[in-house]
């Protein structure tokens, strides 16, 4: 019982590349201090990653809610420029801290990957 728990914890702690990356991307997207609704964030991320990162668009909303639950994001309802009802997200102070940590963690991850497979790591 105990052993299994530890195992689970271990698989969860370092975020899987896709999930961790998506959260980092969201943090970075909102990092400039802007307030954006879900679809705008989606477009932004797709634009900056050449549509490669998401399997399903729904996963983004899942991530947004997960992050809001964690206290990294805050949201408010408003009316979009197209006159639609939309939920606007922004970074909370905790989210700003998380952005810094996640960036560092990402850098370490990239370094580690680069050591094993240097040709992958180029930007």
């Amino acid at each position: 019982m105990v052993a299994r728990k530890t195992e689970e914890a271990m698989t969860k702690t370092p975020l899987g590349p896709v999930q961790g990356t998506l959260e980092l991307l969201i943090l970075k997207t909102l990092g400039a201090g802007s307030e954006m609704h879900g679809f705008a964030i989606l477009e932004w991320i797709l634009k900056s990653t050449d549509d490669v990162l998401l399997v399903e668009d729904g996963a983004l909303y899942h991530a947004l809610h997960r992050m809001e639950g964690r206290g990294w994001l805050e949201s408010d309802w408003g009316i979009s420029e197209k006159g639609r009802r939309a939920n606007y997200y922004r970074l909370s102070p905790e989210g700003k801290k998380a952005l810094a940590t996640e960036e560092r963690r990402w850098e370490r991850y990239v370094e580690a990957v680069a050591k094993i497979a240097p040709h992958w790591a180029g930007t």
Binding site: S34, E35, M36, H37, G38, F39, A40, L42, V55, E56, D57, G58, A59, Y61, H62, H65, R66, E68, G69, D76, W77, G78, I79, S80, E81, K82, R84, R85, A86, N87, Y88
Partner: protein, 894 residues
């Protein structure tokens, strides 16, 4: 991103989280479809593609919901809290606008709820909660006996020691034990001597109750045997008070009534056995023999009814069987007596709930307490009516505000909610005030009126607080909803244009009805108070046949072993001589049957096959010393009293009471008649007749009784009666030290005015009178304030009309008369309904009253008068204000 308008200002009105998810998905689809259509897809194609891109709809949604779950819980809590805070802020603002109203409402409701809280504490202890520390109290039952008892058919709790042993032998009972009434014994020696409340109990009394000791243990079987060394258990309270809670008290030896007793345990806090009266020390039941008489008859004789038993039942099914078996043993063990017609063969043993007030032996106090609960609820109703009336009046003043808000689109239900919340908030504060009142007032009620119950230390138990909270809520709703609904039923155009001062007829009528209701309820309470006061007066002036207010009773306790009959007779004789020289003492007499005890000896009368026994029972046997009649104040109707010359060897004589003379020898001269006493051959000759006297109870039918000289049978007195010529309490103070020091054989003397012994019997009427009066006066004051405020408001509303009348030449006296007449009319109506109501209710209360009819005209008249006078006084102030209306100003103010 781009600029946007904020949708929602605060937490209120936000979508629920689930709804938010749906909105968000909708938004995604809308934007995605737009984009795809820009890319050239048709709307239908775009929709399909958007849905595909989003992913499995249900699964994604579920995932998002899961991610939100924790937030949902927190958010719900927050929303609730926000709504409450917001509501309370609103309510507080409302309350702040009219502080006078707020204070009045808080105090009125506080009074009403507080009275109920205090009464609930009493009733909870007496009626609802089983005695403390009893395990599974539903399974413990009191054992009672129904049948002939000293000539009367009665339900009694008394039992004998052998009967307790019989109960133990009934296998359907899990266990059985017994306890004796608490008696006062002396503890310690010399300077330290003090009286303690000692209760004798069998060892299995404690195991039957399932009580665990606080320290040490209770007695075991060996310690509850004749010949065992003395042991005792201290009550927690006594241990704390007398030994400072010292745990080393276990093992100490104390002197109790001349016996060396080792302390073996301390009972848990608040443990009082099956009754509620406090106990200082618990001692084994076998101590009876030494504490009472020189013999162990008390443990073997089936004629000494000195214990009360309790049993623990196994289950409800076996209870009937168990009772039947106990009854069979009870009667069969007395086959001889049954055969001789001395014992009721139909006597029945049965059991009753542990809570005494729920069984057939409920005390009058507990019955009165039940009624007082009703009374306190009436006080609360009056308070609610008053508050409702105030709020209605207040609502009139707020009509303009209400109309404005309604016209601005605020929903009526929201306005009602706000107003009710305001009242609830006031009620909550009132509940706080109530707890203070219940704490102080409840303490007074309990200590002054039912002092022999050991109350739980704090009167504010969790149950009382919960009850008061519940009552506050109920009272707030009761008083608040009606007026809130009424005040929001606005006629917009009129209220907005007339400045909220238009016609108020409808509301006045409602308030008038509320005032009448208050007067009605006050009248009912005051009638109740009057009836109880009459009862107390009746009890006080009751002819008991003895001069209760002149008599002091004295009993001796002996040092160094109990004296035999002869020595006891000598000691009491010596005591009598000592007392006769004390100033204030008029006469002294001894008897072997003191007040509230009964003794029955079988007698036979020549010429009568059996004795015609009246409902009051008898014949009661009194062994008395010469001077008994004079001391007691018994009037000699015929013949002579017991004299010094009636001694052993002289012809046996007796003085019978009037009832006995008339029942046994109707139409004949009883003097010179003969009866045989206690199976003796010798004739006992009737030499005198005295008036009937109480045998200890206030009520009950007349019984047969005779008095015989103690000296003729070599019997000794058990105690003395002392007749005083002044205040018996003062004389008792002089008598006590004299009795305690006249002989080294005397260890202690119990000296008590008879009135003090009698007082507990009259207490139910005293409580009734005191509390009904208190509550009635309270109700009257509240109702008077109510009437006053209704009239004052009416006058204020009609200022213009009165002004016009004054301008037209109406006389001031006439204006005044008009206002006072309005008040009096309401009061008279209330009084009439109230008196009819109390006449309907009176028969139910009759068992609580003493020789007083529920429709007592004096009481009804006095209450009616009082209420009308109060109503007139309450009307005069607003009436006078009406006369001072200046016509010019009244007209100009428009």
């Amino acid at each position: 991103m781009g600029p946007r308008r904020r949708l929602f200002r605060t937490g209120l009105g936000m979508p629920s989280l689930r709804q938010a998810i749906d909105w968000e998905i909708d938004h995604y689809l809308a934007e995605q479809i737009d984009r795809l259509m820009e890319g050239g897809l048709s709307r239908a194609e775009a929709r399909r593609e958007a849905e595909r891109r989003f992913g499995n709809f249900a699964r994604q949604r579920r995932k998002i919901v899961t991610a939100d779950r924790r937030r949902m819980v927190m958010r719900k809590r927050e929303e609730l809290w926000d709504a409450m805070l917001f509501g309370m802020r609103q309510a507080y603002r409302g309350v702040r606008r009219s502080p006078g109203l707020a204070v009045t409402v808080v105090l009125t409701l506080g009074l009403g709820i507080g009275v109920n809280g205090a009464m609930f504490a009493v009733v909870d202890r007496l009626l609802l909660r089983p005695p403390d520390h009893v395990a599974e109290p539903d399974k413990v039952r009191r054992v009672l006996r129904e049948g002939e008892w000293f000539g009367t058919h009665d339900i009694i709790t008394a039992t004998t020691y052998p009967d307790v042993e019989d109960l133990r032998a009934v296998p359907e009972f899990a266990s059985a034990g017994a306890v004796a009434p608490t008696q006062l014994l002396t503890l310690g020696v010399g300077e330290d001597v003090r009286r303690v409340r000692a209760t004798r109990a069998t060892h299995d009394f404690f195991t039957t109750l399932g009580v665990r000791s606080h320290l040490g243990r209770f007695f075991n079987v060996e310690q509850d045997q004749v010949g065992a060394s003395g042991t005792m258990v201290l009550s927690h309270e006594f241990w704390r008070a007398s030994f400072g809670g010292d745990p080393d008290v276990i093992g100490r030896t104390l002197d109790l009534a001349g016996h060396r007793m080792t302390v073996i345990g301390v009972a848990p806090r608040g443990f009082t056995g099956v009754d509620l009266e406090p106990v200082d020390v618990w001692i084994p039941a076998v101590m009876a023999q030494s504490a009472q008489t020189g013999s162990d008859d008390f443990l073997t004789d089936r004629r000494y009814w000195w214990l009360r038993s309790v049993v623990r039942i196994r289950d409800d099914e076996s209870l009937m069987v168990a009772e039947a078996k106990a009854t069979a043993r009870h009667v069969n063990s007395r086959a001889d007596a049954v055969a001789r017609g001395r014992f009721d063969e139909n006597a029945r043993i049965f059991t009753a709930p542990l809570i005494r007030a729920q069984g057939p032996e409920a005390s009058n106090e507990s019955k009165v307490a039940r009624w007082l609960v009703g009374v306190s609820l009436i006080v609360l109703l009056i308070a609610c009516a008053n508050v409702a009336s105030l709020l209605l009046a207040h609502g009139v003043g707020r009509r303009r505000e209400v109309a404005v808000r309604l016209s601005l689109g605020v929903s009526r239900s929201r306005l009602v909610r706000e107003m009710v919340l305001e009242t609830l908030m006031l009620a909550a504060v009132g509940g706080g005030v109530a707890l203070l009142l219940a704490h102080w007032g409840g303490g007074i009620i309990r200590a002054a009126l039912i002092p022999e119950v050991l109350w739980t230390p704090s009167s504010l138990s969790g149950r009382v607080v919960a009850f008061s909270a519940l009552l506050s809520l109920a009272a707030g709703l009761l008083a608040g909803v009606g007026p809130a609904v009424q005040s929001t039923r606005a006629d917009l155009t009129r209220d907005l244009t007339e400045g909220g001062r238009g016609s108020t007829r409808g509301r006045s009528r409602v308030r008038g009805a509320l005032t009448v209701a208050q007067a009605t309820l006050s009248a009912v309470l005051l009638v109740g108070a009057g009836l109880f006061i009459r009862s107390v007066v009746e009890v006080r002036t009751l002819d008991l046949g003895l001069d209760v207010d002149r008599l002091v009773m004295a009993q001796l306790e002996f040092e160094g072993g109990d004296p035999n009959e002869l020595e006891r007779a000598q000691l009491y004789q010596a005591a009598t001589e000592v007392l006769e020289s004390i100033p204030g003492v008029v006469a002294v007499a001894g008897t072997d049957v003191l007040y509230q005890w009964v003794s029955v000896m079988s007698i036979t009368v020549p010429g009568l096959d059996s004795l015609p026994i009246p409902p009051g029972g008898g014949p009661l046997d009194y062994g008395v010393s010469p001077g008994y009649m004079r001391t007691m104040g018994l009037e000699l109707l015929q013949g002579r009293p017991i004299l010094e010359t009636d001694v052993e060897g002289s012809p046996r004589v007796a003085v019978v009471n009037e009832m006995m003379a008339r029942t046994l020898w109707p139409g004949q001269n009883p003097i010179g008649k003969c009866f045989h006493y206690g199976g003796a051959e010798e004739c006992t000759t009737v030499v005198g007749v005295v008036e009937n006297a109480s045998r200890g109870a206030l009520e009950g039918d007349r019984h047969l009784a005779y008095h015989r000289p103690l000296a003729q049978t070599g019997d000794a007195a058990n105690g003395l009666y002392i007749r005083t010529d002044g205040d018996p309490r003062e004389v008792a103070l002089r008598v006590a030290p004299a009795l305690r020091s006249f002989s080294p054989r005397v260890r202690f003397a119990e000296v008590q005015p008879l009135r003090e012994i009698l007082d507990p019997q009259t207490r139910s009427w005293t409580i009734g009178a005191a509390l009904f009066t208190a509550f009635g006066v309270l109700a009257l004051i509240v109702a008077a304030i109510g009437l006053y405020s209704v009239l004052a408001f009416e006058v204020a509303q009609r200022t213009k009309e009165i002004g016009i009348r004054a301008a037209l030449g109406a006389q001031k006296a006439r204006v005044l008369r008009g206002v006072v007449a309005t008040g009096a009319r309401l009061a008279v109506l209330g009084v009439l309904i109230g008196i009819v109501g109390s006449r309907v209710a009176a028969p139910f209360a009759r068992e609580l009253l003493f020789h007083v009819d529920g429709a007592d005209p004096t009481v009804l008249g006095a209450v009616a008068l009082l209420l009308i006078v109060v109503a007139v006084i309450a009307s005069i102030v607003p009436g006078l204000r009406a006369t001072r209306v200046d016509p010019m100003e009244a007209l100009r103010s428009e």
